[in-house]
Structure formats: C-alpha cells, structure tokens
C-alpha cells in the first residue's frame, strides 16, 4: 500500500515538475527573442522525432492492407500483360522494358512523410536528384494523382499534395468526354470538384474521370475518381463533384512521372509569352 502511495507521489511530483518547467519555458520564450527561436527549434525537433516514430508505427500496422493492395495491383498488371501478349503475340523479357514510356519517365518512390490535415498538404519522397527526380514532375499511384514535385534535394524531394487549395489539374470525363479542371474540394479527404464543364453536355453520376494529358506534367488517362452531383455555375458551366480513388491517408508507395519533353514545351511556352 505504501509502495503504491510512493509511486503515486513520485508521479504527481514529476507531473508538477514538468508543468512548472513548461510554464518557465513559455515565459522564457515570450520574453527572450533568442530563447524563443531556441525553444521553437527544440519543439520542432521533438515534434519531428515523435511524428516520425508515430508514422513508422502506423506504417507497420498498415503493412497487411498495403500488401493486399499491392497484390491486387500486381494481379491486375499481370492480367493486362497477358491480354497484350495475346493481342500482339510477342514476349517481352524484363531487360527490354524501357525506362521511358510514351514520353514519360517513371521512378518508384516511398513517401516518408505525408501531411493530410491542412489546407496546404505535402509529401516528402525518398528519391532526389541523385535518382533522376526533377522539379515539376508528377506523383501518381495506380489509383490516381497524388501531387507535383516542388523541390528536389540530393536524396529526397518535396511534393505539393493534390490536397492543396491552390492545385489544379486538367481532367476529362470518360476517355473522350469534356475536359475541365479538377481540384480538391478542401473539405473531405477524397472529395474533388471538376469545374468548367460546358453546360450543354450532360454529366451522368458514376462516370470515371481521367487526366486529360493537357498539363505536360501528368500522362493522359490516369483514372482519378467517379463523378457525383453536378451544379450549374453562372448559367454556363457545370461544377461536378468527384469522389477520388486515391486514399491519401494510406499512401506509402508512389510513382514519380516526368515528361521528358517538358523542357521543350516550357521553352515554346516562354517564346510565346515573349
């Protein structure tokens, strides 16, 4: 009984100690500019350490789900290859798979850090300039687009998430339907709005939305989501609600896609502006 009381007393003392020290640190940070920066740096370091640890634990417990998704994707890809083999009658060995396909270069990457709960979300990927990553490359998964590379370090790169209030991507309803621009709705995790769809075109709920390929960042025909309700804006265009396929909360493995002709396109655009 005495031992339990002792442990309780130690816990209470430790709690009061932490409380008083935190109070002192708060006062210190409010009264000294240098101390404020120092304490902020300390808090950020602690936050990064704690956040990183929590992320690792989350990854560990989502391995089963990730494996199931990868196995499903693997099966779908195998089926696609088998169908192509049937159609073309040609075999392709692993060594002859080109790095660049259809003017786009693909690099596999792991998302080491993801923010999901802000208006301006981002991802940190474990591939950088040493791996051939370039700025203004797209980040995709088999379920749709994830973001755009904004800054590239030697071994890591920083990507703006699609869940960013300022990010707009060109998209199309169906493979040959009307084109508009899609952006995150800013409310739900998997909600988006497809804007600028001409008024005279009927939009059916349940249609698949794909990338249009007009952006020079993302290749065409990546499935993004399915259409929902649509509303008329200014009597001339539709705003269509889209439910995205990508589950941003469980992103772990992504593909970086870079348009190899991007430089030439930018140069032409620059010439046009001049």
């Amino acid at each position: 009984m005495s031992g339990k009381r002792n442990i309780f007393r130690i816990c209470v003392n430790a709690a009061v100690f932490i409380l008083l020290e935190v109070a002192a640190l708060v006062m210190l940070s409010h009264n000294g500019q240098m101390q404020n920066i120092w304490i902020s740096k300390g808090i950020h370091a602690f936050h990064a350490f704690f956040w990183g640890g929590a992320e690792n634990i989350r990854d560990y417990f989502s391995l089963k789900k990730q494996n199931a998704a990868l196995a499903e994707e693997n099966f779908r890809l195998s089926q696609t290859i088998r169908a192509y083999r049937e159609l073309t009658g040609r075999e392709m060995d692993g060594d002859s798979i080109p790095e660049t396909t259809g003017g786009y270069r693909y690099i596999h990457a792991d998302a080491v850090k993801i923010s999901n709960n802000r208006m301006h979300n981002y991802l940190i990927l474990d591939k950088g300039s040493e791996d051939g990553v370039e700025e203004l490359s797209g980040v995709i998964t088999s379920n749709g687009i994830v973001g755009i590379i904004d800054a590239v370090g030697k071994r890591y790169s920083y990507a703006r998430s699609f869940k960013n209030s300022g990010m707009v991507v060109s998209a199309r309803i169906g493979k040959e339907g009307p084109t508009g621009e899609i952006m995150w709705d800013g409310i739900s995790s998997n909600g988006a709005v497809l804007r600028e769809i001409p008024h005279h075109i009927a939009v059916q709920p349940g249609d698949t939305v794909y990338t249009s390929g007009f952006s020079s960042i993302f290749p065409p025909d990546i499935p993004l989501g399915v259409t929902g309700e649509s509303t008329v804006v200014n009597g001339s265009t539709f705003n269509v609600k889209v439910t995205l396929f990508t589950d941003f909360s469980s992103i772990r493995y992504v593909t970086i896609v870079h348009n190899t002709d991007n430089g030439e396109i930018k140069e032409l655009e620059g010439r046009d502006e001049d």
Binding site: N13, E21, A23, A24, L28, N31, G32, M34, Q35, K41
Partner: protein, 170 residues
C-alpha cells in the same frame, strides 16, 4: 517558532541579496553568480517536494521579475534543484535525514558532504541557467568555461550562506 520566523526573514533577505547581485554586481560575461540553489537546499526537509518546487518557482520568478533579466530563466533553473533536493540529501546524508526531516549543517554532517550537496545543486542550476541563457547561440567551450567559473564563485558565496541558514536548531 522563533527559529522558523528567523529562517523566513533570512530567506527573504537572501532573495533580496540575489536580486541585488543580479542588478548591481556585474562581474563579466564569463560569470553568473547565484545563491538560489543553496536557498532551496536550506529549506526545511519536512516540506513536501511539490511545495518545495512551488517555493523554488516563486522565488525564481521573483528574482526574474525584480532583476534585469529574462523572465522565466531563474525559475527554469531553480525548479529542478527543488526536484532533486530530497534525493541529493538522501544520497549524501542518508535516507533518515529526509524521513525524520532533520536539519543539515556543516557541524553535524561534515564540510565535505555539505560541499558535495551544494556543488550538486549549484551544478544543476548553473548548467540549466547557462544553456538556456545562451539559447544555442554560444559555443560549447564558452558554456563549459562559464559553468566552471560560475560554479566556483557561487560555491564560495554559498558556504557562508548555508552556515547562516542551516542552523543546528532548525
């Protein structure tokens, strides 16, 4: 009762002395003299640790507010001294001291043990104070030199103060 009143008065006078040291005695960048750790060490042993930490916090805050300095700095350094005070006393003078709440003095417990207790308390205080004061902008060597000089100066001041505050009667 008379002794307790005397102790409170002397404690308040010592706090005032600390405020005067902070305000008027400028001994250079490499020295920061403090008698707060020895004040905390001399507080009666029958005071619970939680109350001891509050007393240390309030004393530190009083010095912070009334002296020219950054508010929170003395409090930040004084609270850990209060937190480890009973542990230090138990370690150096035996657990009986804290259990029976007997007073400690140089005459009863010996100069070396009392010195060790003062040095432990001063070290904890000075280390926290100097690191927080530098706020990551000063080199490690500077911190080390300042710590060593401050510890020596504070120790020299602390011995007579300890003798005054920690009487055998208490």
């Amino acid at each position: 009762m008379k002794t307790e009143k005397n102790f409170t008065l002397m404690y308040l006078m010592a706090v005032t002395a600390q405020i005067l040291i902070c305000n008027f005695i400028n001994v250079g960048t490499y020295v920061s003299v403090s008698i707060l750790p020895v004040l905390v060490l001399c507080l009666p042993l029958n005071i619970p640790v939680m109350l001891l930490m509050f007393i240390a916090a309030i004393t530190g805050l009083a010095v912070d507010w009334l002296a020219e300095g950054i508010v929170g700095l003395n409090m930040l350094a004084a609270v850990p001294v209060a937190f480890i005070r009973n542990f230090t006393v138990s370690l150096l003078f035996g657990k009986d001291k804290t259990d029976r709440a007997e007073g400690i003095s140089i005459r009863k417990n010996g100069f070396l043990r009392v010195s060790a207790a003062i040095i432990i308390c001063q070290s904890v205080f000075s280390a926290i104070y100097i690191i927080a004061d530098g706020a990551g902008t000063v080199p490690f060597l500077f911190i080390l030199i300042k710590f060593a000089i401050s510890l020596c100066c504070s120790y020299v001041l602390s011995i007579p103060l300890f003798n005054m505050l920690a009487s055998d009667e208490k």
